[in-house]
């Protein structure tokens, strides 16, 4: 991994006015349920998927469309290092935002006189840390495919496809289609539901393996795509 790329990516992500506005809005919206019902614990905050998408959108694609990629690869950096660094930066950035959200929720609970469930906070952080890691990997894959913020469009299309396939499968009672839709959705939003531990349920191995296989697959394909990407100063970048 390359520290300069990680730092540059973090700077790029957190100096974008649009991103900052969206992040503040999302965090503020997530505080409303906590203010209304401070005793409900951290699960009421929901998950960090939208936050992760906001930070990850265009993580590679924006470098392609802005022409930064040519400059980066003029340095002695391997393309795998570049992808890993981008992934790490986005994950790190999301973790920071989640931690901030968690701290704010804790303060709201304290101010409203509700007990702060520390175990719940740890579980919330761990659950969302894994979700952020997985989402960043998926977005790395989509972002390596299309320039700019096209990765969001691809993600939307993929979700839409899974809904359509699942809907048709459910209507026609086609198990295979329902299964395919489930796998697609699980891959688009890779997570390990640690919440089930609070109900005394063990986490199934299939969920853990599905999560890590998705992350590894997305990163591997993203690196392969980047390795085959031809860059030229004369062209538009792809």
């Amino acid at each position: 991994m390359s520290l300069p790329i990680i730092l540059a990516t973090l700077r790029q992500r957190f100096t974008s006015p649009m991103r900052i506005v969206i992040l503040i809005t999302v965090i503020w919206m997530s505080m409303i349920p906590v203010i209304l019902s401070p005793g409900s614990g951290f699960s009421i905050l929901g998950d960090c998927y939208f936050l992760a998408l906001t930070i990850a959108a265009g993580m590679i694609g924006q470098d392609v469309s802005s022409g930064t990629l040519q400059l980066v690869f003029a340095r002695p950096v391997t393309r795998a290092q570049y992808v890993f660094s981008k992934w790490a930066a986005v994950t790190l950035g999301t973790w920071c935002v989640i931690a901030l959200e968690c701290v704010l929720a804790g303060i709201v609970m304290l101010v409203r006189g509700a007990p702060v469930p520390w175990g719940g906070a740890a579980l919330y952080l761990a659950n969302n840390a894994l979700l952020a890691l997985g989402t960043a990997a998926v977005m790395a894959l989509f972002s390596a495919l299309v320039p700019g913020l096209g990765d969001l469009g691809l993600l939307f299309l993929a979700f839409l496809s899974s809904q359509v396939i699942g809907g048709i499968g459910s209507f026609r009672n086609w198990r295979l289609a329902m299964r395919a839709a489930e796998e697609l959705q699980r891959s688009l939003k890779p997570e390990i539901e640690l919440w089930s531990l609070t109900h005394g349920h063990p986490i199934p191995w299939s969920m853990v393996v599905a999560y890590f296989s998705t992350v590894a697959l997305c990163l591997a394909i993203a690196i392969l795509l980047m390795n085959r990407k031809e860059l030229s100063y004369a062209s538009s970048g792809v």
């Binding site: 019902s37 003029a74 391997t78 329902m178 959705q185 393996v209 697959l217 591997a220």
Partner: protein, 196 residues
Amino acid sequence: MPPRASDPGEVRPPRARTGSTRRDPAILLAVTIVLLALRVALHVQENRAQPAVPPSAAVSDKVQWRSLESGVAEARTTGKPILYDFTADWCAPCRLMQREIFADAAAAADLERRFVPIRVLDRAREDGRNPSWVDSLQARYRVGAFPTLVVAQPYAGAPVIIEGYLGRDYTLDRIEDARRSLRVRTMMPALPDRGR
């Protein structure tokens, strides 16, 4: 004049860029292939360990009971609530409910349309113990009697639990009430769920 080796702005010769900087991640690819193979193997194993249709449902039910895993996945995909039927082979009211509701084509079709049905068959009396997923679900929904129907939906707060069997119409009405109340709660996730 050739650029200095330490120059941060040094432009690498083409050979270096097409060689080492584009090395494919062999280890990552190997790990990915192993994990994907494991993923498929685990799914196959789970599907074998958990039959899609429990033995007691096979005879006369018109409801297509889902296995736990595929049912939960279907509920997520379609947004339908899950209808758990906690039952046991020795339970007489359960058999009555099975005959009057689950074996009735119209009622079964209606349930299939609105819910994802999952049957949780208790085998403690026959086999001495239950599969772990049955114990887990019974503990989660505090099932103390049979039959018990549970209508649950992810992110909809507390599930609705219907204990016992008090006739076809009454039970179907209660199930529909439960579905409606969950629908209202999923539309207002931020509201505090008092009285739990």
